[in-house]
Amino acid sequence: MKRSHTKSQFVAVASIAAELSAVMDVAKEISLAAANAKAIAFRAGEKAKGFQPITDFINELAKDTIQLVNAINEHALSLYQLTVDEYRMTEANERFEFAAHLAKGAKYESSLYPVHQQVQQRMQICLSQFNVHIAQLLDQLAEVMHPARAARVIAANSRIEASQAGEYLQSLQAVAESVDNAAQVIHDNVQRCRSALSFINFVD
């Protein structure tokens, strides 16, 4: 692996953290929209009867998303640590390789072999751990896509229900709109995370 590759990992891992914090904000927005919708539906009474379970559902989705993003954030943090370790080990390995090269012909040249080998092994361990974590993170990101997709379906349902809510039509439609938008944003952000990750997901 080239060092420039490791440098791009830092950027990728950092950009994932940024995307995730945006996802978190949006999930909180959905949660707020759900609370709003609940209040409106309550006031609308019979007219928005079909809307009430939907608001609960939206709220659940927001909660799920927040929980998942929290878990992913933790994971991203350990991924960052791994990136640091891996960067260090790769760098160390390069230096040892250079030392081994320079030491050719030195009286105690061979004493470097086991040390160099250990450094190589440590680097390999770092690399494989890194790959395992990336794979896990990709799975988690795929999971976040589920509530986002579900939210879009619900938003469509909400629009239908809203159309029967008489004078509450507009405000409920606005709720449906904001859930739909939010779900779209989450979807896009997570998609960007995944492509950033797949960019650094390498096989050594």
Partner: protein, 267 residues
């Protein structure tokens, strides 16, 4: 390399082909040979430009090896390769850092990978800072303000306080048997690549040291305290971390010159 007597140290070039096809030169000079050896490594021509040239030293006993001022991260590979001419990796048991500067010890994280059982002797109050370079397997042996000793088999080296010269916690290494004082940044000069390793014309050498000492050394009081302490020692070679070493009469000349120099000129 051939063996030299302490009095007339010869220097030799280790010529190596790097992976870029560049010739790398690390000069190795035996400056003492007796029950143990002192070797000076310097003038690394592989080092990238804009990096200050440094001298590294080792003290070699039959089964152990101490590296004094191991150097910056860029120097790690050439330094390790050079030491392998005198000691196998597993016998490099000790490192010494006079203070916290990157040109002294930013290679620590790499030595930490190479020498899991080694000890780093360094100022106690710099520990929390030096660990930023990476020190997970190497044991940090904190040197208290009043100094101490480092024992290598039968050799006992004295750790001489040199605080504020230039770092707040700073030590030098004195070997009473070899009569060598490794003086860190004290006695440092900025030299052209390829300069000889010993001062041969003190008067001419002064100009290469003056600004460095005036600007880097902060305290006249600390300077006087150190000179007093060092005048008590019997020194054949004063061995700084940059530039040439001082031998014989030049050691006394240096102390006299330094005594008369006003330092801390930036304020």
């Amino acid at each position: 390399m051939t063996t030299c007597s302490a009095a007339e140290a010869h220097y030799h070039l280790l010529i190596l082909l790097t992976n870029k096809g560049v010739v790398s030169l690390m000069k190795m000079t035996k400056i003492y040979e007796g029950t143990h050896e002192w070797i000076m490594y310097g003038r690394d021509e592989h080092k990238p430009q804009n990096i200050i040239d440094t001298n590294q030293y080792i003290v070699r006993t039959p089964n152990r090896c101490l590296i004094l001022e191991p150097g910056g991260i860029e120097l790690f590979a050439p330094m390790l390769a050079a030491v392998l001419h005198h000691a196998p990796v597993e016998e490099i048991t000790d490192l010494f850092a006079s203070h916290q500067d990157p040109d002294i010890i930013s290679s620590l994280g790499l030595w930490d990978q190479a020498l899991p059982k080694a000890k780093l002797h360094a100022p106690a109050i710099w520990e929390g800072f030096l660990r930023h370079f990476g020190c997970e397997t190497i044991e940090y042996v904190p040197i208290p303000d009043n100094g101490g000793t480092i024992r290598l088999e039968t050799v006992e080296l004295q750790i001489i306080p040199a605080h504020y010269l230039h770092s707040s916690a700073n030590f030098h290494i004195y070997d009473p048997k070899a009569k060598i004082l490794m003086s860190g940044d004290v006695g440092a000069a900025l030299e052209q690549p390829g300069a000889p390793v010993f001062v041969d014309n003190f008067e001419a050498h002064v100009e290469k040291m003056r600004y460095f000492h005036q600007r880097w050394m902060p305290s006249n009081q600390a300077k006087r305290n150190w000179i007093e302490r060092v005048r008590e020692l019997d020194i054949d070679i004063l061995a700084p971390q940059h530039g040439r070493m001082f031998k014989g009469e030049d050691v006394r000349r240096f102390l006299d010159w330094f005594e008369g120099l006003q330092v801390g000129i930036a304020v």
